[in-house]
Every structure is written in structure tokens, then in C-alpha cells.
């Protein structure tokens, strides 16, 4: 099965699952409404988006310098910094830290970057117990599924599906499908894990170069527990998460939580700058930061595509995407779903691997309108569609450029541009098309599955215009 067939297969599967579609529809409707409630004044929203865009642009424009400053500051604060170009390197680094410290059990706060590297599998294969502690991630760990949304990972499951998982994995706990009681069960079973884990692994929302501070945004407290209770804390993040100064943080935090979940702020905003200091009674003795590239630095080779890296992972683009709402996150088949996934993943993994994703878009523009850092997502999706069939291969182009080009399609467009570029040919073509309109095919494979085939009109627009007395084309 090629990538396109595989994508269509996943989409069909999602579309034929009414429960899944109801789960997404309900969740997305709610989340959109809550976001809108946070931005009653559009002019203020636009000013805040502009400010957030500028902060992220500044950080990306000076990324190498800021990463070096971040590293120097973190080291002087006592936090150890590691660099990884690939997921394999990142996983190996983390395993080595754990192995050296004789750590056998890990509690994890939510981290999409660790999903990118498939860290859990890597560590479990090496005999380390890994427990996801974010409720949604914990549910998915039981279900052995990847997240279907970057902020609300288990959004595709309803309470009964969750209740069944708890019954299966915690038969000693009383059965319930009440959400409050399920939450209580999770609290009970995970408490003991937090108390006993050797290490905690988390992501990072913003890494502040000025002060060497790792910022984490969360509601549950599992992020704080993972980064405070065990004796080792390892944070993993993409290299694009660096920002210049502490003053950059409040506007980004503000627009992040409002855009993501429609909250004025999350319950916890956790800023970590040091391991446990002499005299302090808790907190990890070691703090590590793993900076992962994984294709990000390559995205910078193109000024237009560079906008991709402004993303602060709020998920608003997927919440507002008509395609995502219908098919859900798993249909995309990549770590990051929705519009940002459609833009990021082909650049990260190659068009030859996942370029078909760019077809999962109607170019309606909703994602571009809600993006808190003004990433022109529809424009970038269109650009990647062009990259996918572009024949010119340049040194720094998107990996897999031109790999979705087919001779038939290329020829059709060549003929089309030949006809449209030559007035005499164009006139002949339209004359023939209008006169021979009865011969136009009525079935056009997937197009006519749900639509009727287009038929040429009896007279071309130019002809009608001439009849009306316009003498100049």
C-alpha cells in the first residue's frame, strides 16, 4: 500500500466509525466555543497575536545564539544540557542518563517530542518501567494507542471506553463510568508511582535563554509531580522552543492557554531553573535538558516554510479544522495531526513518506485565522502541495520534493498550460469543448463518487461576451 492508499484507508476507517466522529464533533464544538469566549475583543486578540508572532520570530531569527545562551545559563544554574540530531540519539541519551543513575522507573509528564522519538518503547525494551501520568496519556498507555490530539490526547475516547480500560487494568478498583470517579481512580493508582519513581521525564513549553528557565504549562499537577518528586528530572524539547527573555513569557502563556483550551491560564505554570540546592528539602538532585533537532534545523532553509517553527503547540488549528473534526487525529498517521501536522510532518519526515497529508485540507483558511502566532498554514499547505509535484530538485529543498509527481498528471498540466498560454490553441480548444460537450466523460473516478461531473457550457464566456457586443477580449 502506498502512502496515499494508506491515508485513504485510515480516513475511511475513521469516517465509518460513528462513535469516533461523535466524540470529536462534541469535543471540538465545545473547545471552539470556549476559545471564542476568551477573546471577546477582536482588536485585542489581533494585537496579542501580532505580539506573539514577533516574539517567536525574534527567537527563530537568533536561534543559534539563543540556544547557546540558554545552554550556558542552564549549565551555570546546574542543569545538564544534551543535544540530539535524531530520535535515536535522544532516546539513547535519556537511557544513558537513567542507566548511569541506576534509575529503573520513570513517571512522565506530557511530552509530544517524546512521542516523536517513541521514547516509551525504547526505554521499556531496555527494562525501564515508564508510566504516563497525564490522565489522557495514561488512558492511551493502557489502550496502547498514540495521542489523537496534541493537547487532549484521549479526546477520541468516551467515558465508557475509558471505564473499560480501567476495569481491565485495575480490576481491584470498583467499576465506574462516572468521570469524577474515574479521575479519582487515576489519582489513587498513580500516587504510588509518583512517590516511588526514580526519575521524571517532561516536555517543555518555553525555554528562556535569559535566565535558563524551563517553563511547563499544565492543569493536572502531574507535570509538577514528575519534575519534583523523583530524584532525577529529564526534560526533552525541540530546539525551536527557546525564547529570548523572561518578559517574552507572559504574552505567549496568555495566548497559548486561551487558544488551546479556552482557559485564561492553566492551573499550574511551573518554572524550573535549577536542581535541588543545598538546604532545599525536595526537588530532583539532577536536572537534564535534551534538545532535539529531528529535522527542525533543515526547515530553516526556506524563508517561507520557516514560519512552521513559530508553532507553540496549542492545537487551535486542529480544533478548527473541518477535516480534523471529521476524521480525528489517528487518520493522519503522524505524531502531529491537523493543519500543523500537514505542514510540519512532510518537512520533517519527507514528502516521499507523508506528502499525501497535504491533500487532507480544503484550504478553507480556518486554521490560519485562529493560529496564535499567525502561521499562514493554508499558504504553507498549498506550497507543500506544489513541492510534492515539483520537478526541480534543489540542494536544500523539502526532503522528498517531487516524489508525488506522476507522468500523467505532469503531462496533463503541461498540455493545459500550453493551451492556455496560446490564444489560437485556446480558442480552438474552447470551440471544440463547447461543441463536443456531450462527449465529456460523466464519470471521473473519485470526483464523481459524491459529485456530478462538470460539463462544458454550450458557449464559452468569450463567445457570450462577443454576442453582448464586447469587442475586446
Amino acid at each position: 500500500m502506498n502512502q496515499q492508499q494508506a491515508l485513504h484507508h485510515r480516513i475511511d476507517k475513521a469516517l465509518n466509525n460513528p462513535q469516533l466522529r461523535r466524540n470529536f464533533r462534541t469535543a471540538m464544538d465545545g473547545i471552539r466555543e470556549r476559545r471564542a469566549d476568551q477573546f471577546p475583543d477582536d482588536s485585542k486578540l489581533q494585537a496579542l497575536r501580532e505580539q506573539a508572532r514577533a516574539i517567536r520570530n525574534n527567537a527563530l531569527g537568533r536561534q543559534a545564539e539563543l540556544l547557546e545562551r540558554l545552554e550556558a545559563k542552564l549549565i551555570s544554574n546546574g542543569i545538564q544540557v544534551h543535544w540530539a540530531e535524531t530520535p535515536e540519539q535522544a532516546n539513547a541519551l535519556i537511557h544513558k542518563i537513567l542507566h548511569t543513575a541506576n534509575a529503573h522507573s520513570v513517571v512522565k509528564g506530557k511530552s509530544m517530542v517524546s512521542e516523536e522519538t517513541e521514547l516509551n518503547d525504547y526505554l521499556e525494551e531496555r527494562g525501564i518501567e515508564v508510566i504516563e501520568s497525564d490522565l489522557g496519556e495514561y488512558i492511551l498507555q493502557m489502550a496502547k494507542e498514540p495521542p489523537s490530539h496534541i493537547v487532549a490526547p484521549a479526546i477520541h475516547k468516551n467515558r465508557f471506553e475509558v471505564a473499560d480500560l480501567f476495569r481491565e487494568f485495575h480490576p481491584d478498583q470498583p467499576y465506574t463510568d462516572d468521570i469524577d470517579e474515574l479521575t479519582g481512580t487515576a489519582r489513587r493508582v498513580l500516587r504510588e508511582k509518583f512517590a516511588n519513581a526514580d526519575a521524571g521525564i517532561s516536555g517543555v513549553n518555553f525555554a528562556v535563554a535569559e535566565t535558563g528557565t524551563l517553563c511547563l504549562v499544565e492543569n493536572e499537577g502531574n507535570g509538577r509531580l514528575s519534575t519534583t518528586a523523583p530524584r532525577i528530572h529529564i526534560a526533552i524539547t525541540g530546539i525551536e522552543k527557546v525564547v529570548e527573555k523572561l518578559a517574552d513569557v507572559p504574552p505567549l502563556l496568555d495566548i497559548l492557554t486561551k487558544s488551546a483550551t479556552g482557559q485564561p491560564i492553566t492551573t499550574y505554570f511551573n518554572m524550573i531553573s535549577r536542581p535541588r540546592q543545598p538546604g532545599e528539602k525536595d526537588g530532583p538532585e539532577q536536572v537534564h535538558l535534551v534538545l532535539l533537532d529531528n529535522g527542525r534545523s533543515r526547515i530553516r532553509y526556506d524563508d517561507e516554510l520557516l514560519d512552521t517553527l513559530r508553532c507553540i503547540r496549542c492545537g487551535a488549528c486542529m480544533n478548527h479544522c473541518p477535516v480534523y473534526v471529521h476524521v480525528g487525529g489517528h487518520a493522519y498517521g503522524t505524531t502531529y495531526p491537523g493543519p500543523i501536522g500537514v505542514v510540519l510532518e512532510p518537512q520533517r519526515l519527507g514528502i516521499d513518506q507523508v506528502g499525501s497529508l497535504t491533500s487532507a485540507c480544503s484550504l478553507c483558511g480556518a486554521c490560519g485565522e485562529v493560529c496564535p502566532v499567525k502561521i499562514p498554514l493554508p499558504k504553507l499547505i498549498n506550497r507543500l502541495r506544489a513541492e510534492a509535484v515539483d520537478a526541480k530538485r534543489e540542494a536544500d529543498s523539502v526532503p522528498g520534493q517531487g516524489s508525488l509527481r506522476t507522468p500523467g498528471e505532469a503531462m496533463a498540466w503541461k498540455v493545459w498550460s500550453g493551451i492556455y498560454g496560446t490564444p489560437r490553441l485556446y480558442r480552438t480548444f474552447t470551440w471544440l469543448a463547447t461543441r463536443l460537450r456531450r462527449l465529456a466523460p460523466s464519470r471521473l473516478k473519485p470526483w464523481t463518487q459524491y459529485r456530478s461531473a462538470p460539463k462544458p457550457a454550450a458557449h464559452s464566456l468569450a463567445e457570450l461576451a462577443r454576442q453582448e457586443g464586447f469587442d475586446h477580449e
Binding site: 535566565t211 518578559a247 492551573t267 540546592q277
Partner: protein, 213 residues
Amino acid sequence: MSEARENILRRLRRNKPSTMPSGSSPPPQEALSREQRIQKFTARQQAVHGEVHRVGEQQWINWLAVELPKRGLLRVLCGTGAIGRELQQAAIRGVSLSSYEQPVEQCKAELFASIDAAVTGVRCAIAETGSLVLWPDTDEPRLMSLVPPVHIALLPAAAIHQRFEEVIEKEGWAGGMPTNALLISGPSKTADIEQTLAYGIHGPKQLITLILE
């Protein structure tokens, strides 16, 4: 892995984007009066199930002396600073007080299993988001505001600022950050099942703020 570092930095340096337009800041906000800040903080906290009470500056001990036994919060954790000392002196009847004196390794089991509530101070607060700002320290360690099921925070009314930006600037945070700085805006919560809010997942189930006036 310094090779990875060099490779990444080389790639980042090689492509400096040609244009990175900067932007404008949003318009300044109207300043709130002290009373408005208290009201706003309270409303924000209550909107996320935070409990807020306004008590006299010297009255918080009396409030606790009544409320702790009444609510069945009989095993209470305090820090080793001024608040902890006052609590020790008050010796509230029926309430057994533990002081966070040992490193967590020596008291983890007790902390996780047999504490009903912790009482801490706060550094300041933010009205606009209803956030308590904590810089945990040797007297009041990080887990105090996280592990016990109830967190009671003492907030001087004068320490409620309007915005986070303001706190960072006025207090000169950029000049030196503590090991851990926290914004706490309500009790722990989740919406991971059906986007339905449920309170008290991993952190405190209840957050009680006493505004001291």
C-alpha cells in the same frame, strides 16, 4: 554528543532568515484599584473552584482553628518559617501538626499518605488570572503546595498585582530566578475524559486562599 551540538548549530547559523519582521505590543490595560484587584483575583479563583476568604491580618490562625477541625483536616503540614512557627505556637486543638523539617526522602511516605492539608505563604498574586505566585524555599518546599489534598495559602492583600508581566518586571525576576517559581490558579483539574472538567486529579483537590487584610 558534542558532534550533534556542532552540527545543529552549524545548520542554524548557515541559514539566518532574511527577514524577521517584528511587531507591536497590545495597548496598555486600565489599572485596577487594590479593591478591584482583590475582587478580580477572587472571581477568577472561584471560577475554577478555588475557595477565597478575606480575613484580618492577625485572624488567619483563628480561621484555621475553627475551620480545620470542622472540615476534618486534622493532620496538617506546615513549613519551618514564620507561618509554621505561629501554627506551632497556636497548638490548635484536635489538629496534629507536622513540620517539613527533613528532606523528602525521609518523609515521603508520610507526605503522600497521611497529610490532610498544608498551609503555606505565597510570594504574591496576579489578579487578572487569579494566580498565586510561589517561590518555594527551604522553609516551604515545593511539594507542600502539591501533594496534600488541601492547600491553604496565606496571601497579604497588598501583594495582589494586576498582571504577570508586572510581577516579573517589578520584582526583577530576570535578575535571578529561584530553583522553582510557580503560578497556581485553582485546585488541580483535568478535562481529559470527554472534555469534562473534573477537579483534584494529581495535585490538591481544594485550594483555599486566605486574603489577609
